[in-house]
Symmetry: C2
Subunit: 182 residues, 2 copies
């Protein structure tokens, strides 16, 4: 099973694709889409969406695993994150892929065995589980690989997995107002 | 000048397109994309993005005006709204359109003349300014028309207008890790 993990962020979106066979994992690729500090916010969203769409087409994963938002940050940055996460999810659903969502605590529990593990412990475990010679960088890439590994460890009972249906079914009604022609 | 207003929401996204010539306004169309209660969250995002992209292609506006998020609601619903707003902005930037953002207070001030006006007052003024025979429904459509009217009243000094640049320029670096071939 090929799993594509995403750690969304408006400044940097980490991604990591793994292949899981039972308890064995193999890295396919990982990295981060870093957006320019000079780019406008909509342009950043476009870069994230375009980048992820291209990567999903290249990797052909069976599903996408995405980190759930962490609610404890301030509202402003959480809202920005919501935008980035929205276009990331869109890229996945446009590719017709099921999407599994995990909270940071679920990811840590699945990878390290402890929901309040430190970021460094997660990175070390990602390195170990994937047999890498060095820590995955940037840390967003390691986080994305961690969420992919989390998904490979069997679906957590609390995971929200969205299986794609037919396009168009999701919109129930479009109400149009059009002025009558004179 | 043709302006396409958007009032984003994950359950219902209002839209309204107007044509402004000096102080005169004419409605082109308005409505709302209502997403099915049975649809998954990613499917709702897909429906919003697909719907808005089709409407922008149909209306050929000169710019898009979008309501800024209201920060006082609870964090959970604001985060959901962030996702919807992200895919709405993406549809606009993919269409190569400049995006202007206005807070609810700016919209009310521009349309009613008072930043703390009631929703009903805004709807009545939208009806009056566009010469409609009835109140625009649903209220999300009226809100979208209001933000379009707000933009037509000259760019508010505080408006954040993003002008599109070349695609691809927004992403500065892509760091890829790929395992060496054995």
């Amino acid at each position: 099973m090929r799993i594509f993990g995403i750690d969304p962020g408006s400044d940097r979106t980490g991604y990591g694709c793994i292949e899981a066979e039972g308890a064995r994992h193999r890295i396919v690729l990982s990295g981060a889409i870093a957006t320019s500090a000079h780019a406008s916010f909509p342009e950043k969203l476009l870069a994230i969406h375009t980048g992820l769409s291209a990567l999903l087409a290249e990797c052909c994963p069976d599903c996408v695993a995405i980190e759930n938002l962490f609610f404890a940050t301030n509202a402003r940055s959480a809202l920005k994150l919501g935008h980035a996460r929205g276009v990331a999810m869109l890229a996945a659903v446009e590719a017709g892929l099921p999407i599994a969502e995990y909270t940071p605590a679920e990811v840590k529990r699945a990878v390290v065995g402890y929901g309040r593990a430190e970021k460094q412990q997660v990175q070390q475990m990602v390195k170990l589980l994937l047999g890498l010679s060095a820590l995955p960088t940037p840390h967003d890439a390691a986080d994305a690989l961690a969420v992919a590994i989390c998904h490979s460890h069997g679906l957590v009972a609390s995971a929200r997995v969205s299986v794609p249906v037919d396009r168009g079914k999701a919109a129930t009604s479009w109400r149009h107002y059009r002025p009558a022609r004179p």
